[in-house]
């Protein structure tokens, strides 16, 4: 087993562990701490996949912004930050559905074309150039959607609505 493969196995194990732990944590703040570890862990997977641009984006947007946004959401909706969640049962149907989804996705692996394909790497400069030339319309669309949704969010939270 190569060093890369061992590192990937470790990262995958930590990713699934932290994802489950974040959903099962009894205190909401612990959920956010677990999910922060999860985001950083996935950024490491991107670096391992030779996608450094996405790795940095994951660290900045997810581990940075989304984590703080979620913490802020807890802060303004809770009277005490460390207040416990009421225990909710797992239930057989959701667990079965989740397992079924996993089995369905993994069986699709057999449909992949096999053959010796060496993985491609993309330098961040090439990706940046592509984002602002060939995919410029997408970036513009992203900007417009962000602007629209931020306007919607401000409308939702403003005082004296309705």
């Amino acid at each position: 087993m190569s060093l890369t493969e061992a590192a990937f196995l470790l990262l995958a194990f930590v990713a699934i562990l932290t994802a489950v732990a974040s959903l099962l944590a009894r205190e909401l703040v612990h959920t956010i701490l677990w999910i922060a570890v999860f985001f950083v862990d996935l950024a490491m997977v991107y670096f391992l996949l030779d996608a450094p641009f996405l790795g940095v984006l994951q660290l900045g947007v997810y581990a940075g912004a989304v984590t703080v946004l979620l913490l802020f959401g807890i802060m303004v909706t809770r009277k005490r930050i460390f207040s416990r969640e009421a225990a909710t049962g797992l239930g057989p149907v959701p667990v079965a559905l989740a397992l079924l989804t996993f089995v369905f996705v993994v069986t699709a692996v057999g449909e992949l074309p096999t053959g010796e394909v060496s993985p491609r790497t993309y330098p961040p400069a090439a990706l940046s150039a592509a984002l602002f030339s060939g995919y410029g319309a997408w970036v513009l669309l992203l900007g417009i959607i962000m602007l629209t949704s931020v306007s919607g969010a401000i409308y939702l939270v403003r005082e004296g609505r309705g």
Binding site: L54, L69, A86, A98, T101, L156
Partner: protein
Amino acid sequence: MSGLSEVGLLALSGALLAVGLFGILTRRNFILILVAIEIAMNAAILNFVYFAAYAPTTTSGLSGQAIAVVLVGFAATEVAVGLAIVLALNRAKGTINVAEATELRL
């Protein structure tokens, strides 16, 4: 990145999708549901990055990574709107338990 197994990466993304689905179905707290949605979104983004690495041409691979970049932006936007709904729900009902939000209007 030599030696990374295809099956392992797809199994990781499938497992994360399953965990996210499980969270969306079982949790009652709105913020926990948002976290579960983020986990499922990350599984999708991971798939795009993985298939970009094994794309037949450089152009198609770059489009995979470009989609992943745009998706990260969408996910951040979605959290912002989700938290706005959380705040509105909290102000209207005094709780963020989705089981108690039984009416469409706030």
